[in-house]
Symmetry: C2
Subunit: 408 residues, 2 copies
């Protein structure tokens, strides 16, 4: 009989996208849905980088070099220099989004059956690429109570086996917004050196650090051979649909092997590379406005959340996500209920249940991720919805004392 | 110690791209190199489809649906209808080039250790995707003496094991240009039904059939569950750099599982989808001119080749490739020699050694692939070079009798 592969069966459906049919149904009923569920920013893609495509004189849209156009890689060298990363154009492979950089890293460095340690909650799609590559994800838990700080080194050491080949971090973090400190990055370095582990560093959100300093894995002295940096322009320039990323590594064996995977798929997208190249010429202060906007949104979102009874949201240091602990029984049920059974002023809010971001079953049931990718008015309206929803949600649990007192 | 994965080690370097440094060196010496080595057509990308991107009103270049924009998938349904393929938009996943469609097919349908049968010579990158997926390629040999017709069914049956899960064909074929007949397609159908095999059908070149009828795997009655069609706009609209393809299947389990891989990488390229959608509105006679051009090139190339002593080139029925048997000791050496040690009128030609297209070691040593992606004048000049080269190549073997007579 024809059958699907084992990895095809094991592959998880996107935990975020599985709620989409409920959102569509709500919209069909005439309800406005505030999408805080997905990291698709509303920030305008810089018109100059789209104009570069419009003005490009293209007769034949040809394959590029498998590593990406040399001209683009050379310009990226300048970009990385500005953020304190010294690499040359032969240490960069242009990829189809950050996704492909993650995939190349997994396939190049990890064997089937190997283990990667990831502090959870983590970007859910690491799971998908791990399953595609036959790699086992070993989560170690970071807690909302510490704002999702790096778990102690002992937690890493407890799970390291002969099969452990890499640690993955996302910094600033999706889904937590946590920004790793220099001290935490140094700890990661020590453990990678001690156990000969790759450090896969997903730095998609580096431009959006609000409190504290951005430390790249490639800022760490003496770790060059271990680091595989995974990058993308999706969030940086609000160009998710371009599908343009990069794998950056100073490890020549990794680079050369990753290039063979890159050659097999021929080349990254051509028009997107024109955008990426033009983006390097944006004025240095380009990020000031989106960064200030995200920061204002964060401040509003976090203060609105923490003002709700029974809700706790640690202040995220970067990216454009916040995790909140809610007084609910089950975040999957709650997020579906918000779309299916709830509205306030004919509006509701779509959130991402945190369960999809944990590798350990059962965790995240009272947490949700909120992406602050809408403007301040929309965030306020969405928070109004959430506040009202928590008051009437049938699965509400753990009322705070004063609230309980009021209800007596 | 940090090490590369086993698949990273096994992954072949592109057999075509490994000669690139020699071509670059030749160019540095001032020698003009005719590139018949790679399927990068010189045909202009239809200006209308690039204009569609230029005119698109984009504020935020967002992720598309993971299956691709619904509007594009709906238009593709019309396109497929015109070529006799009846599918709906929920049987199409838009991919990043045909490459990703191949990868999704492998990962979705095949387990590690499974076997796929591919008539050789075959598109070299199938190897790469097979290694990434841990799948074993089992080649069965088609011969230049029959023009690379489908090997007899007995040859398939001889290699079928419990691990065999799929047959891959490329029709019209890269690298041979062979166009499978209805009778051959029916034979493939019978064998897939008898042994419950998937038929992965790479139809990247369907618009370029010169002699005989194009038969899609999805034209075959009763094979719908078995067929995974892999498609791309790269060759159809001379838009290789767009990186836009499609996986098409009526098998719902395959579709649903492939969608999970599609979700993990979020979405296919956005600007390319605008191009793809605009391409459906090109006039019906759009293909007349490129097709006539390719046909004229084929006729010239094949007649020039067969006029050379000791050379045999079967007439390819489709695509824009021809395979030629040359009187040489080793096609890898010869192709390198053409770039390193030979020129005629300060020109030379770059060809693809056929060894890279065979799975069976040792085959293809006296064959090369020629992509007729240059205009008639360039093909003539390239053939002048090849003719002269064969006269002086030190590794020439098997002189034809009259030539031997002349040299006595």
């Amino acid at each position: 009989m024809l059958s699907i592969s084992e990895r095809g069966k094991k592959m998880p459906a996107s935990p975020i996208r599985k709620l989409v049919p409920y959102a569509e149904a709500a919209k069909k009923k005439g309800i406005k849905v505030f999408h805080l569920n997905i990291g698709q920013p509303d920030i305008e893609t810089p018109p100059a980088i789209l104009d570069a495509v419009r003005k490009a004189d293209i007769k034949v849209l040809e394959y590029s070099h498998s590593a990406g156009n040399e001209s683009y890689r050379r310009k990226l060298v300048q970009y990385y220099k500005k953020v304190g990363i010294n690499v040359n154009h032969e240490q960069i492979i242009i990829t189809t989004g950050g996704s492909e950089a993650i995939m190349f890293g997994f396939f190049t460095c990890l064997n089937e059956g190997d283990e990667v340690i990831i502090p959870e909650p983590f970007y859910a799609n690491y799971n998908g690429f791990a399953i595609a590559a036959g790699v086992n994800v070993v989560p170690i838990t970071s807690s909302i109570d510490t704002g999702f700080a790096l778990p102690p080194i002992e937690d890493f050491e407890k799970v390291i086996t002969a099969k452990t080949k890499a640690i993955i971090i996302c910094n600033p973090n999706n889904p937590t917004g946590y920004l790793y400190s220099r001290d935490e990055m140094e700890k990661l370095k020590q453990i990678c050196l001690k156990y000969n582990l790759y450090l896969f560093s997903d730095e998609a959100y580096r431009e959006f650090c609000y409190d504290g300093e951005y430390i790249s894995a490639l800022h760490l002295d003496g770790l060059d051979e271990n680091v595989v940096l995974m990058d993308t322009i999706s969030k940086r320039y609000s160009a998710c649909g371009a599908r343009l990323g990069a794998l950056v590594t100073k490890n020549k064996s990794v680079y050369d092997a990753a290039m063979k995977f890159a050659q097999a798929r021929l080349s990254p997208p051509g028009l997107a590379q024109i955008m990426g190249e033009a983006a390097i010429d944006l004025p240095d202060n380009y990020f000031d406005i989106p960064k200030a906007e995200y920061m204002a949104r964060r401040d509003l979102l976090v203060s609105r959340l923490n003002a709700m009874p029974g809700v706790f949201c640690p202040n995220p240091g970067g990216a454009f996500y916040a995790m909140a602990k809610l007084p609910i029984d089950d975040s999957d049920k709650f997020c579906q209920w918000l779309l299916e059974d709830f509205s306030y002023n004919n509006q509701t809010v779509m959130l991402a249940p945190a369960t999809g971001f944990y590798g350990t079953p059962g965790l995240g049931k009272n947490e949700v991720r909120l992406a602050y990718v809408l403007n301040l008015d929309a965030i306020n309206a969405a928070m109004d919805c959430l506040e009202k929803a928590l008051e009437v949600y049938p699965g509400r649990v753990g009322l705070v004392p004063e609230k309980k007192a009021m209800m007596k």
